[in-house]
Structure formats: structure tokens, C-alpha cells
């Protein structure tokens, strides 16, 4: 089985300002691959390059070197918006459209892709049920009528709308209170098993990473310094792994 996502020696440097002056390197020599049904957690401190790496995958940032393949195709040759429609994207601040109803928010990518209205409505309702929201109660609401946890449930449903094989999640539960957060983490685990998607999940929370990741990629100063299963992570002697484990203990 081939990997859904393959990142090969990706590098990203900020555009330099002056002549000949190279910008600061935020991500360097990052390689990993993610198969269907697998969740790779990118763990690291703030500024370690995990969000940058995520944005290189859907080309919100353009890698300066290296190659990134989605479903075996290099992303470089594709139109950026086409690529992104095939990749679910969930961010910490959710970014629901305040002037759209919940149903319209979820149906956005299908609408861009030209699905007919009936199919979009069916899909939105199906996804609302999947993320634990009653379609009859929530489909017609606007984002400001939802709690933080409900908003992120809609955010996840929206990312799944066009059934993409790959999902990118950037600290999706980072802004939630601890109880809601734990609740969404548990449900997310069930979703992982049920959906069988390839996922890249960015977090700085070790416990979240251990709970949700099939593998953990630990990032430090723009490099992946450890890549392995949660069990291997626990046993690792790498100082950054130890630092994270001790902080969580």
C-alpha cells in the first residue's frame, strides 16, 4: 500500500529581504510518510516548525526545497486550490464563516466542487451526526450560536465534507476548556478508527499526541529529531523526548 502523504527532505526558508541574503530557515530536511488509517502527530514546542510543516503540505506556504507527494503525485505541479480541496484542513481558531449557517459551512467545498444542493444537504446532515451534533437542531444555526466545542465539531465536519483521503489538523483542540477538550479527543479517536484517513495532527500537548497518534514526529528547531510510535517515544533517550515526557509527568 502506498503512502497517502510523503514528505521528502522538505525545507522552508523565509523569503530574504535584501540582495543575496537568505531568510531564516524554519523547517529543514523534514521527511516522513503517512498511510491511510494512520495519524502522524507532529509534536514540538512553539516555533519548532510543526505548523510550518503542515502548511507546506497544503501549500499555504511553498517549500523552498524537497518534494511533497499526495497520493503519489508531487504537489508542486498542481494548482494550489485544487490540491487543497482534496485535503481536509482544521485549525485551532476554526475559522467558520460567520455569515454562513452550519450547513453552508460544512457544504463549502462540495459547493465549490459543484455538487447539487440536495447532495450537499444530505452530506452536511450525515457529517453533523458523525461529529455528534443533531442535524435537526444545528444545521440552520450560525457559528455565533455555538459553543467552542460545537464550533470545532463543525470545523472537523467541514474538513471531511468532500471525503478527502488526507486531513491536516493544527492544534484543533488547543483553544478548548480541559473537559470539552478531553471529550473531543475521545471522540476523535473513534473517528480515526472509523474513517481510516491519513492524518497529520499538530500539537504541543504530549498526552494528546500519545493518545491520538499512531506515530509521533518530534520537531525541534525545524528538524524532526524523533519519529516513532508512542511506545517508542516513551522509551526514547533523546533529550527533547525526555523533556516533553517529564513536563507531562
Amino acid at each position: 500500500m502506498t503512502a497517502v502523504l510523503e514528505v521528502r527532505r522538505a525545507r522552508y526558508a523565509l523569503p530574504g529581504r535584501g540582495k543575496g541574503e537568505g531568510g531564516r530557515v524554519l523547517v529543514d530536511d523534514v521527511s516522513f510518510s503517512v498511510r491511510a488509517g494512520e495519524t502522524l502527530v507532529l509534536l514540538g514546542r512553539s516555533g519548532s516548525g510543526k505548523t510550518t510543516t503542515l502548511k507546506l503540505i497544503n501549500r499555504l506556504l511553498e517549500s523552498t526545497n524537497g518534494d511533497i507527494l499526495v497520493a503519489g503525485r508531487s504537489t508542486r505541479g498542481m494548482e494550489a486550490h485544487r490540491l487543497r480541496r482534496g485535503i481536509g484542513y482544521v485549525i485551532q481558531d476554526v475559522g467558520l464563516f460567520p455569515h454562513f449557517t452550519v450547513e453552508q459551512n460544512i457544504g463549502l467545498v462540495p459547493r465549490l466542487e459543484g455538487w447539487d444542493a440536495g447532495r450537499i444537504a444530505d452530506r452536511a446532515r450525515e457529517l453533523l451526526s458523525l461529529v455528534g451534533l443533531d442535524p435537526a437542531r444545528f444545521a440552520g444555526r450560525r457559528p455565533h450560536e455555538l459553543s467552542g466545542g460545537q464550533r470545532q465539531r463543525v470545523g472537523v465536519a467541514r474538513a471531511l465534507a468532500a471525503d478527502p483521503p488526507l486531513l491536516l489538523l493544527d492544534e484543533p483542540f488547543g483553544a478548548l476548556d480541559p473537559i470539552t477538550r478531553a471529550e473531543l479527543q475521545r471522540e476523535f479517536r473513534r473517528l480515526e478508527e472509523r474513517l481510516g484517513k491519513a492524518m497529520v495532527f499538530v500539537t504541543h500537548d504530549v498526552r494528546e499526541g500519545m493518545l491520538l497518534g499512531s506515530r509521533i514526529g518530534l520537531m525541534q528547531d525545524g528538524h524532526v529529531v524523533f519519529l516513532g510510535t508512542p511506545a517508542e517515544f516513551r522509551e526514547s533517550s533523546h533529550p527533547e523526548c525526555r523533556a516533553f515526557l517529564e513536563a507531562a509527568a
Binding site: 499555504l60 487543497r84 484542513y89 460567520p98
Partner: protein, 210 residues
């Protein structure tokens, strides 16, 4: 009360001037929207142009209106005596609030909303039409409202370049020192401004999303 009697005696002329006034304001505001909204969008995309363009619009705003009308008279194509000159001057005044508010409205869209839209694969055009403009609509409309109210006031001076409007009564009243005549022009102009303000304010309130 004298004013009411004056209208009774001159109803045809008064209505004619009122409608001239409304046409001047409507035409100039529409032209200003047609120029100002795209310009504001452009500024939001090219932040480097913001200072010079808004600076220029600001300077235009400071030209005394009577002087601006005067400057325009000798110019070919856009100048001369009549409604066209008046509309050009009114557009100049309406432009700043519309450009500035369009820029502010679009730049003010929540970055998370923009990132989500882009991340889900919206093109620049889709993002603009489906997200940025609807979310900025309230702020843009408030700019149009300010521009319209300014326009109603400045349009009274259009009479000085022979464009008609309610200013005709005001200028005539000043010339012959007749308060009733001045009021006959000023009163409906003030009411018109209030009416436009209230009406556009109502529309604006429909575009509040949270």
C-alpha cells in the same frame, strides 16, 4: 411658516430643484462606489499603495468645496458649467470614505476565516466574493452612508456652477438677504441627509454577523 407658503406658491420649481439634487447625489455616489470599492479591494491586496492613495484622497477631501467647483470649470471634458462638473466634484468628495471603508472592512476580516477559506481551496476570487465582501459589507455600507450624507451637503454648492439643486434657493436667498429663501433650500437638504442616513443605516444593520 413662510417657507410652507413659499413652497405652495412655487411647488413646481421646488420639486424640480429637489429632484435635481437627488439625481446629483445618486449619480455621484454610484460613480464613487463603482470606482471606490474596486480601489479599496486593490489597496487591501497591495498594502504598499495604501498610504499614497488614501493620502491623495485625504488631500482631495480638504479642498474647500466651492474652490473645487471653481477649479473644475476651466477644465476640458470633466469641467465646464453644469451637472457634469458638479458630479465630478461630488465623486471626489465621496471617494475617500468609500475607499477607506472598503479597505478597512476587507482587512478587518478575521484572519482565521481567511486561512480556513484558503486552506479549503477557495481561489482569491471565491474568497473575495463569498467571504471577504459579504463580511466587509457592513463597513463598506457605512462608508457609502457617510459619502451620501456629505454628498447631500456639498451638492447645495453645485448651484454655483449652474448644476441646479436645492443650492439655487440658498444662493438666491443669500444674494437678496432673504431667510425664507435660504431655509427653502437648506431645510429639505437637511431632511434629505437625515433620510439617507437613516435608510442606509437600516440596510447596514442587516450585515452584522455576530
Amino acid at each position: 411658516m413662510d417657507v410652507l407658503r413659499f413652497y405652495g406658491d412655487n411647488s413646481r420649481e421646488a420639486l424640480g430643484l429637489l429632484s435635481q439634487h437627488v439625481v446629483l447625489v445618486l449619480a455621484s455616489t454610484l460613480v464613487a462606489v463603482a470606482i471606490g470599492v474596486p480601489l479599496g479591494i486593490l489597496l487591501a491586496r497591495r498594502p504598499r499603495w495604501r498610504r499614497p492613495v488614501l493620502g491623495f484622497a485625504n488631500v482631495c477631501q480638504t479642498i474647500p468645496s466651492l474652490a473645487l467647483f471653481g477649479f473644475l470649470i476651466p477644465l476640458p471634458f470633466i469641467g465646464g458649467v453644469g451637472a457634469r462638473t458638479a458630479i465630478v466634484a461630488l465623486v471626489v468628495y465621496a471617494l475617500l470614505p468609500i475607499v477607506r471603508n472598503t479597505y478597512t472592512g476587507i482587512v478587518g476580516v478575521d484572519p482565521a476565516v481567511r486561512e480556513a477559506g484558503r486552506g479549503m481551496g477557495m481561489t482569491d476570487r471565491e474568497l473575495l466574493v463569498m467571504v471577504e465582501l459579504p463580511l466587509a459589507a457592513g463597513v463598506i455600507l457605512s462608508g457609502i452612508r457617510v459619502a451620501t450624507v456629505i454628498g447631500v451637503g456639498v451638492a447645495t454648492i453645485a448651484a454655483a456652477v449652474g448644476a441646479g439643486g436645492l443650492g439655487v434657493y440658498i444662493f438666491r436667498g443669500v444674494a437678496v438677504v432673504n431667510d425664507t429663501l435660504i431655509l427653502a433650500g437648506a431645510l429639505p437638504a437637511a431632511l434629505l441627509a437625515l433620510g439617507a442616513d437613516g435608510l442606509l443605516g437600516l440596510v447596514e444593520r442587516r450585515f452584522v454577523w455576530r
